[in-house]
């Protein structure tokens, strides 16, 4: 009977196989979960270098490391044999890795491999996960960065962001070369929520949050559920182009720290970068010194295009996303949620 129902569902909807890469990461695992829960998607493939996603019924798992040699032809074979229709690429490290060359291999070259494999296997739609950090934090940024107007400038600040921009460029190149295929790039701002763990949540988890004296940039957050919803929307609809996935409203960083109930440690600008770099090398700082500018200057993106083109309306505002994170954090402190 189960088989029958599956058949009728798949007959109803034209969705082909959906391949998700990086399924042991936060985005990948949550997308697999959402796809599993949705009866419209019958055939799902997970690709990861480490372990298969837990508790799956209709997901096939392939173990593949995107760094290894000939990963592109191996991936192409998988995509061909599975008749892949849509590929969601989120095999990116969520935190800047200590070893920059590994990061470069995975982010930049990994995406190159994925794109070559997609070209070879005639994948109809590719969805890339990216971040609004690629715009970079500059004093010359307008208050709301737009996808088509403002080019990403983050490569001037950090190698990690430069790799991410390079990954985006691979996607855009693919879109230009094959105009009949759909490439959607989702740039999400800082993700917060009850379960996400990244270098930014680590930053807000400390009892003393270091900021720069005299600077108080505006920040914006998107709730993790909203982010996954945006991916599902991108899988559902064919919306080529880049979209900023952001929550409504902005908050000053100092206010964020106050809402978190942490101490705001304002340190002078002089020597701040050196200190952060030393702490980064000593494994204390959550991010390298190249990310310091995000504590200093504005990097806020405009979500209007995603509302219009993707139909994505965030359910959580910036403040609600933050409160959801803070609430879960407090429950975690009293061990009501497992870490």
């Amino acid at each position: 009977m189960a088989v029958e129902r599956k058949k009728t569902k798949s007959a109803d909807t034209p969705h082909g196989t959906i391949v998700v890469t990086g399924t042991s990461g936060f985005k990948g695992s949550r997308i697999i979960k959402a796809l599993e829960a949705d009866p419209r998607y019958s055939s799902i493939v997970a690709i990861d270098a480490r372990k298969p996603p837990p508790d799956t019924k209709k997901t096939k798992f392939y173990k593949l490391d995107l760094i290894e040699t000939l990963a592109d032809s191996k991936l192409a074979e998988i995509l061909k044999s599975e008749r892949c229709d849509t590929l969601v690429h989120c095999a990116f490290p969520i935190t800047p890795p200590k070893n920059p060359s590994v990061a470069h291999e995975l982010i930049s070259i990994g995406t190159l491999y994925v794109m070559t494999a997609c070209a070879e296997a005639r994948v109809r739609k590719v969805i890339l996960a990216s971040t609004t950090d690629v715009y970079g934090a500059f004093p010359t940024n307008p208050n709301f960065l737009q996808e088509n107007v403002h080019p990403p400038r983050g490569d001037r600040q950090s190698q990690f962001l430069a790799d991410k921009i390079d990954a985006e460029k691979q996607g855009l190149k693919f879109a230009a070369k094959y105009p009949d295929r759909v490439v959607t790039i989702l740039r999400s701002c800082t993700i917060l929520g009850p379960t996400i763990q990244s270098y930014k949540t680590n930053y807000l988890r400390r009892p003393f949050v270091t900021t720069m004296m005299g600077f108080d940039p505006l920040v914006q957050f998107v709730h993790e559920d909203d982010l996954i919803r945006s991916f599902m929307l991108a899988i559902e609809k064919d919306a080529p182009g880049i979209f900023n996935i952001v929550g409504d409203g902005v908050l000053p960083l100092s206010r964020v720290i106050k809402i978190c109930g942490k101490m705001n440690l304002r340190l002078p600008q002089m020597g701040f970068k050196t200190m952060v770099q030393l702490l980064w090398l000593a494994d204390i700082s959550p991010a390298p010194a190249s990310h310091v500018d995000f504590l200093r200057y504005l990097c806020v993106a405009d979500g209007a295009k995603a509302k219009k083109g993707l139909g994505f309306v965030p359910r959580f505002s910036t403040k609600e996303a933050l409160l959801s994170f803070v609430g879960a954090e407090r429950l975690r402190e009293v061990r009501l949620i497992e870490a």
Binding site: L251, M263, L298
Partner: protein, 399 residues
């Protein structure tokens, strides 16, 4: 005499105040009630003893048949009564003294309690957190609008701007009715004064003089946002970085936007070049008006040139710090921080008649020659307003 005493009513002792509150008033009433109770007791004692005495005397007179010497008895009784009265007075005094002493003790306990609670407050971490927060920039921590303006901070510093506006520069405003009652408009003004007070003052003048408009925002030069404290402060009081995207968003939201097309060239010009308008950027503000269909209101500000007269500029030093110029005025850097106080010149602001660009088609935006011509026209318009205001001015300081 005993009849007299009998006539006195015993005080009502049942209405004692409850012990619930520790107010001063309650303490007093309780004290009074207690005293009254005691006085009542003494009175009854006195009455009893006098009646006893009376009875004893009558009995004595009856039984022994002693001659009735009324006068003697009267004096004796009087003496006894006075003695008793004296004793009563003494007890009362003693009582009230004791009560006062108790009150004093109570006050002392209260003071000690207050001091200890203060001490506990001083020892707690929360207290230092709030103090540190206040010393830092607690004002910036409230919720802000999408462009980073903090309404509470704006209200907090409004008295300062009002002081500068009414008392210090005694700004006189004309033509305020040229600002439309609602809808967007771009306010274009001349820029002067070394430190950009003029933006804040135009904003304050609209706030104070116009009956309807409360939503003017001003665009601020880029370099401010490179700097600590000042950049954040500008955002929180309603300044927005000057770029076409921000201005367009603000205008489309129906705001008044104040813009200074001269930019740094205008604000940092030498004193001998005062009231000579510099080049008006690249005409971005004209394109903005065409794109958003907003009317343009030319504004002339007179008086701001004299607040910090720049004698010389040091550009080499400025470059190393990262500011566009370091001014040398008669007071700065000679007087140090005192030199940062602007001079109290008399200002006047005139809002000119709105200029509309609706008649130009959508293609006009690409016509650079036309844009430049229109920009020059607006510049001449503002220059004319300034000449008018200068013609009317008799003195820099009195106006």
């Amino acid at each position: 005499m005993p009849e007299d005493l009998n006539k006195k009513e015993t005080p009502n002792l049942h209405v004692l105040p409850l012990k619930s509150k520790k107010d001063d008033q309650d303490d007093f009433s309780r004290l009074a009630a207690r005293l009254e109770k005691k006085i009542g007791r003494i009175e009854t004692e006195l009455r009893d003893s006098i009646s006893h005495l009376n009875k004893d005397i009558r009995d004595l007179l009856h039984t022994k048949n002693i001659a009735f010497d009324e006068k003697n008895i009267q004096t004796d009784l009087n003496a006894l009564y006075q003695q008793l009265e004296g004793r009563m007075q003494k007890t009362l005094d003693e009582l009230s003294r004791r009560e006062a002493h108790q009150r004093k003790e109570k006050d002392a306990v209260k003071v000690i309690k207050d001091k200890t609670s203060q001490l506990i407050k001083l020892l707690s971490l929360d207290f230092y957190k709030t103090v540190l927060g206040r010393l830092g920039s607690a004002e910036y921590e409230e919720e802000v609008d999408p462009f980073g303006m903090d309404r509470r901070l704006v209200e907090k510093i409004k008295p300062l701007f009002d002081f500068l506006y009414h008392k210090y520069w005694r700004i006189s405003v004309t033509g305020i009715n040229n600002i439309p009652d609602e809808g967007k408009a771009l306010i274009v003004a001349n820029h002067s004064g070394t430190v950009p007070y003029d933006g804040a003052m135009i904003k304050t003048s609209i706030l104070n003089e116009h009956p309807r408009r409360k939503d003017a925002r001003f665009l601020v030069e880029d370099f401010v946002y490179h700097m600590p404290i000042l950049g954040t402060f500008m955002y929180r009081i309603g300044g927005v970085r000057a770029c076409p995207e921000n201005a367009e968003l603000l205008l489309n939201a129906g705001h008044l936007v104040i813009v200074f097309p001269e930019g740094v060239k205008g604000i940092g010009k030498l004193y001998r070049e005062r009231y000579k308008l510099q080049r008006f950027g690249r005409g971005g503000f004209i394109k903005l008006c065409m794109k958003t269909n907003a009317p343009l209101i030319p504004v002339g500000v007179v008086g701001a040139e004299e607040i910090h007269p720049i004698m010389m500029k040091s550009n080499i030093l400025a470059k190393t710090i990262g500011v566009p110029y370091i001014p040398i005025t008669p007071t700065f850097p000679l007087l140090g921080l005192l030199g940062c106080i602007p001079l109290p010149s008399k200002w006047s602001i005139h809002f000119g008649e709105p200029i509309r660009f609706d008649s130009y088609g959508p293609k006009a935006m690409d016509d650079e020659l036309l844009i430049h011509k229109l920009s020059e026209k607006v510049r001449m318009n503002i220059q004319e307003i300034i000449f008018d205001l200068l013609r009317k001015r008799r003195s820099v300081w009195v106006g």
